[in-house]
């Protein structure tokens, strides 16, 4: 009887391992597809000669709204200070983070308009899950400028409560946008309050 039980338990264990690994692969495939769609849309905006600057900015903002989780990004940037964010200010803060990141990313892309003949491409070629729940993924790839490798790119994405994939960090040429802002905010908040930070962000980005 126990021998049968042993076989049953071993079988269950193997099944759990197999299902979990297959699930992880499946999620990673979906994550990669999601990122490839986001990069295709981003590049079609950047490489387009039809859009004006303002149209590009507005399209990019819309794309980021749809695919990035600004609330989580904002919390990562605040780190331990996130608990000091008053409930009434959470929406204002998230809104400012969204404006700040959209502007930062747009400004960075806008500089490259000086070279109109240059074509950018992004090849995302690997994905791995992180954390223990198959809800976070790192997708790595390369940014190509006229087919030559320009820099590495890493996307950190999560599956949110609504089961949607969302970007929470972008690391370009080794520089993580979220962590750069986290460092800034940590330094700022070491001798100032969260409200002062929000006022500062508001002056700059509102």
């Amino acid at each position: 009887m126990f021998q049968n039980l042993n076989k049953y338990l071993v079988g269950c264990l193997l099944l759990i391992i197999f299902v979990s690994s297959a699930q992880s692969r499946e999620y990673c495939d979906e994550a990669l597809t999601f990122i490839n769609e986001v990069t295709d849309e981003t590049l079609s905006i950047i490489n387009s000669s039809e859009f004006t600057k303002n149209q590009k900015k507005s399209n990019l903002s819309e794309l980021l709204n749809k695919n990035a989780d600004f609330e989580t990004m904002g919390k990562i940037m605040l780190g331990k200070y996130a608990r000091k964010l008053p409930d009434g200010m959470k929406e204002v803060y998230t809104d400012l983070i969204q404006k700040m990141l959209t502007k930062t990313i747009y400004d960075r892309l806008d500089n490259d308009e000086e070279e109109p003949d240059v074509t950018y491409a992004i090849v995302n070629d690997s994905c791995r899950s992180k954390g223990s729940k198959n809800k976070e993924f790192l997708v790595d790839g390369d940014v190509l400028k006229d087919d030559s490798r320009l820099a590495s790119i890493r996307w950190w994405i999560i599956i949110n409560k609504d089961q949607q994939y969302k970007v929470i960090d972008l690391t370009l040429a080794g520089v993580s946008l979220t962590l750069q802002k986290k460092d800034e905010f940590t330094s700022y908040l070491s001798n100032k309050s969260v409200s002062q930070l929000i006022n500062n962000l508001s002056k700059k980005f509102d």
């Binding site: 126990f2 021998q3 930062t104 960075r108 954390g131 890493r154 040429a173 962590l179 700022y188």
Partner: protein, 276 residues
């Protein structure tokens, strides 16, 4: 009967082992997470905390030096870089950039060899030969189109590869963001570069022209980027420090994304009910 007991014992041991391993891993993950992101403390600290991923014990002095460098930049270097951009068209600037980069090849080669990077060593040699000949003394960069893209190496990166720690963050006068390892690396790179020895026997004009043109060309490349960072940051000094540290890690790992510093998990934070 004994066989049955052995089986049961085996399963109990396996179960306990799995549970203990799981617990150990979780605890290690959590403590690492806290260590990395919350500076080992949830308690309010009266002393200013050290910023994430950077070690800046001389921050006060560094900030003064940063302000000095910024003043020099705003008064001299930035206007020179802007004038250079206004006068020289993009094509000309690219040729000059290529020429100066080609001159860096001996330094890159020296460090490729020291790091035992065979493929990169071969790439640097081919780039130098192709760009110096077909590329007309390095003003063109046909090597990139031929499949030999540019990479950078310096002696500080070589030291890092051999395990030498960077030391604290420092802002050097005129040279900007740095660390003791980077400063030592710059000195070695300067000393072993053939151009340094060649220029020793030339008049001061040549020496200064080379140094100034390198600075102006490098600054021109960063005109928009630095303006954007300054405009979009809450603390320009911290932004530059963070970017410098992250970029150096990227350069040392030859552009291969590392698991640090962003390797922390939202899952763990949610489980701990810290911020989410």
């Amino acid at each position: 009967m004994a066989k049955i007991y052995i089986h049961r014992l085996f399963f109990v041991i396996m179960l306990l082992l799995m549970l203990s391993l799981h617990t150990t891993t979780s605890k290690a993950d959590i403590s690492q997470f806290i260590e990395d992101n919350y500076n080992s403390s949830y308690v309010e600290s009266s002393t200013p905390e050290i910023s994430y991923n950077t070690f800046d014990p001389f921050e006060e002095t560094n900030r003064k030096m940063f302000a000095f460098n910024q003043a020099v930049d705003k008064a001299i270097l930035k206007p020179m870089a802007q004038a250079y951009r206004d006068i020289v068209p993009e094509g000309g600037r690219e040729s000059i950039r290529n020429f100066l980069r080609n001159l860096e090849s001996p330094t890159i080669l020296f460090n490729d060899i020291l790091q035992g990077e065979e493929e990169r060593t071969s790439n640097t040699v081919k780039r130098f030969v192709i760009n110096s000949s077909v590329g007309f003394f390095g003003f063109g960069d046909p090597a990139t189109d031929m499949g030999y893209p540019r990479h950078t190496e310096d002696f500080a990166q070589t030291l890092a590869v051999y395990g030498v720690e960077s030391g604290p963050y420092m802002v050097s006068p005129l040279f900007g963001p740095s660390t003791p390892r980077h400063i030592a690396g710059r000195l070695v790179d300067f000393a072993v570069h053939p151009l340094t020895w060649y220029l020793q026997n030339q008049n001061d004009g040549y020496r200064y022209s080379y140094g100034i043109s390198e600075a102006v060309v490098a600054r021109e490349e960063l005109l928009d980027v630095l303006d954007d960072i300054e405009e979009n940051s809450t603390d320009y000094y911290v932004s530059i420090r963070n970017m410098y540290m992250q970029r150096r890690i990227d350069e040392i790992s030859n552009g291969v994304p590392s698991d640090e510093p962003s390797e922390f998990s939202i899952d763990t934070a949610r489980d701990l009910n810290l911020v989410f």
